[in-house]
Symmetry: C3
Subunit: 375 residues, 3 copies
Amino acid sequence: MGQVAWKALFLSLFDYKTEKYVIAKNKKVGVLYRVVQLSILAYLVGWVFVVKKGYQDTDTSLQSSVITKLKGVAFTNTSELGERIWDVADYVIPPQGESVFFVMTNLIVTPNQRQAMCPESANIPDALCAKDTDCLEGEAVVAGNGVKTGRCLKDKGSTRGTCEILAWCPVEKRSKPKMNVLATDNESYLKTCRYSQEHPYCPIFVLGNIVRWAGGNFQEMASEGGVIGIQIEWNCDLDKAPSECNPHYSFSRLDNKSAETSISSGYNFRFAKYYRDAEGVDYRTLIKAYGIRFDVMVNGKAGKFNIIPTIINISSGLALMGAGAFFCDLVLLYLIKKSNFYRGKKYEEVKSSSRKSLSSPTLNGNQSPEQLGEL
Amino acid sequence: MGQVAWKALFLSLFDYKTEKYVIAKNKKVGVLYRVVQLSILAYLVGWVFVVKKGYQDTDTSLQSSVITKLKGVAFTNTSELGERIWDVADYVIPPQGESVFFVMTNLIVTPNQRQAMCPESANIPDALCAKDTDCLEGEAVVAGNGVKTGRCLKDKGSTRGTCEILAWCPVEKRSKPKMNVLATDNESYLKTCRYSQEHPYCPIFVLGNIVRWAGGNFQEMASEGGVIGIQIEWNCDLDKAPSECNPHYSFSRLDNKSAETSISSGYNFRFAKYYRDAEGVDYRTLIKAYGIRFDVMVNGKAGKFNIIPTIINISSGLALMGAGAFFCDLVLLYLIKKSNFYRGKKYEEVKSSSRKSLSSPTLNGNQSPEQLGEL
Amino acid sequence: MGQVAWKALFLSLFDYKTEKYVIAKNKKVGVLYRVVQLSILAYLVGWVFVVKKGYQDTDTSLQSSVITKLKGVAFTNTSELGERIWDVADYVIPPQGESVFFVMTNLIVTPNQRQAMCPESANIPDALCAKDTDCLEGEAVVAGNGVKTGRCLKDKGSTRGTCEILAWCPVEKRSKPKMNVLATDNESYLKTCRYSQEHPYCPIFVLGNIVRWAGGNFQEMASEGGVIGIQIEWNCDLDKAPSECNPHYSFSRLDNKSAETSISSGYNFRFAKYYRDAEGVDYRTLIKAYGIRFDVMVNGKAGKFNIIPTIINISSGLALMGAGAFFCDLVLLYLIKKSNFYRGKKYEEVKSSSRKSLSSPTLNGNQSPEQLGEL
């Protein structure tokens, strides 16, 4: 007998159980449900799958290597340096062509600096003095160029002066020259493509155009310096051919050009060239370089068909259908005229202690006594 | 009476409502449904959870810092430079060991350049001239080294020559030497591990091996230059011990070695060393450096158990079960012999205006009149 | 007649079908189901939506550009270099202010090196020799400074010496000086904000504070060198105003400070300054620079409301509700006293061959014969 029971249990595993449905011949709710279903289907197919490519797994971590190279010479004629030619080895820093590179467009040269004692620049507040005791020996000048020696240097007849410092002397002057840059971009003979609206995949750029596209003014940026971001965006659909995976370039100015007094306005840095004279004493030429720094930033994402996001998105659609059915149920059971009747049909009340016939469902407990009376 | 109604409503909230099921004692559909259920379970457990670790939240944004250091000396003997020793300070650019570094393996030296007037290189098309008017004064030579002075310099008896330019003179020659590099990697005495198949986590690499693994030929790359990517891939399961989170190295050549005429073939850049003579005049040695640039690119993702993706994946499985049931319903209700009968059982038609007994469900409206007649 | 059938079929499309429910007036299971529902709702609203912002699509790929600038001078007084002032152009490498920068805090200077023959450093094992044949001509010294000439140089009366090498001579000594650094950060007059707990968005940092926050000792790091990571974390909620998207800074030491013998302890590199004497012979000053390298690493993610993850998360909640109902069904049908009765109500067994009345559901097949007898 036990064996028979187990066999029945096992066989019952292969009985198919399916939900019992009530057909409410109410066209209003029926049409509403079909509209809800179609909306969800349209959202799922149109938005999730076609527009947002919900069947793809997207990877945004990208490995990139950027190689840059600059071409061109510039000619300047300043009172300080005289006539001078600037080629790539002179104006590109660092020279090796990484993703971040700097094109020097203006400079303050302080030639032949030697380690010695000299007056600090009068532009630095901490170095101003009236007497020697204002210049505490061994103290560094705040935001200055050296360490105070303890003496206050004054012009004859003047009551105020600047502290003497131990530093690379003479110290840098603060006046900024305007470099007279001669543009040299004549495009004949060179390899002919140039990046533009018409040639969106050409990797050769004219510097002035980049500045213009980034919303900058070349003359002003060349004088004050600036930072320009070159964004390269790859948005690849790996379900298509690799040749359709193309970069999109955009340019933006990264430094805050409007803020005159901001610490982040413009772009400059100092570097020095070191020399040694016949006596073996080091001296250097200090260069405060103004120019345009370019940051090449590569970003991208690649999508490829993947079963897991596909099924998750389909499942979310199915669950939405369930929510839609729940919403239509609410309408059917509470909002239409004959909702009491449908409520009684949908819900079959059972009570184990009741002596009611198994086959006669009654209206559910949500009914108020009035409704029960109506029955 | 109103109070009683509210109490009934409140109590009915705690009535448990459960879907009414119809048991179809049809083994075919029952087995089909169990097979569908098992397939979904296998997909969910096997693929989503075990293989794809769907219970983890994955983070692909990674912070990395790369420190590189090179060791070794090279000896060269060229007609231009004579016998020369190259150590790390000579051949590594930049010296500070960042993620992108360059090892100089060949070079064109143009010593003792001074700012002066001299003929442009004859290899540059824009500088070729027949008469002085071909060399417009003040115009820069396209892709050249300087600004034209207005004179056309010709060899005696020759009808064609090159423009005279204001530039760093003499200009660079275009011939490329073959540097005679002596490899110095004798591995005794040094710290002993080297990266290889057997030591996949050793962070010390032999340069020649990297080039070989990247599919390059060291002699050819040393002469023409090239770019090699060193990908370091971390794929960490943070649910395991941190010591099981190990890097995987791979190497690939990034420049386009086959394209002889491509602008991106090989790798080189120019830099200069600046000197000053006893009279205070600047001169420089221009170096066109060929070599191998290494780009260390770090990439990674880390997964960790997270309840949200876990539940989303389980839910998608549950929703799939629902879709499976829907599919089996279709089979039961439309494809098997007795589908009419089951359709009548599953769907209970109700019409509020009908005088039918509440307890006698009828077949649903999908039936054609013939089917109704069959009843 | 066919037309009538098609019309009926079409109309039946707009019949609303809704699951038939059985109301089990069992308060225990009813309360259990409400508790399960409330738990899922709390998880969904509280954890998924409020805490984890599950309604947002998160993008972790971020484009960043880092600009750094250092200020300050240092004074040193060593036996080798005498009194010396170090300014930004001297101690910051590279000078251009990228995301990775190095502040030199200690150095070994080897001035006036020329390409010549000289003894290799006695610290290098491969260069030790007893006789000339130990120094194979043309062989490079492993981890050394040059190429052996074939001669073994010994002090008078000594039996052991070092190989003579062709190298930049004299070779670097291995002793490391302690540089006497004078801190210069007096904060008056300078722009006043400094990064601290109280000013978490001020982008001006005091070097010593960074080292302290990273858990390092400035004196020790200045002597041995080290690498410090400056992590900038942006965690932006783009559903709020952009001004609420602020960076969070953190600092950590990246080199392995404890491992004395490790290859990655400390941080140093060599570079050289090249000079040319009156006869045109190159010589250089080799500098082994110890110092603190700072790696600025920017990381971030930005979340924005997106309908797709919102619906996926809601759907997962709905599917969970279904799972909760399944669980409560199990309780109702198998664990409570009257489960047999409810099982009979929930499952309506139908057999196409049976002559049972359509309207009388029977108990399902899971029942054992005893249970059937009980009926």
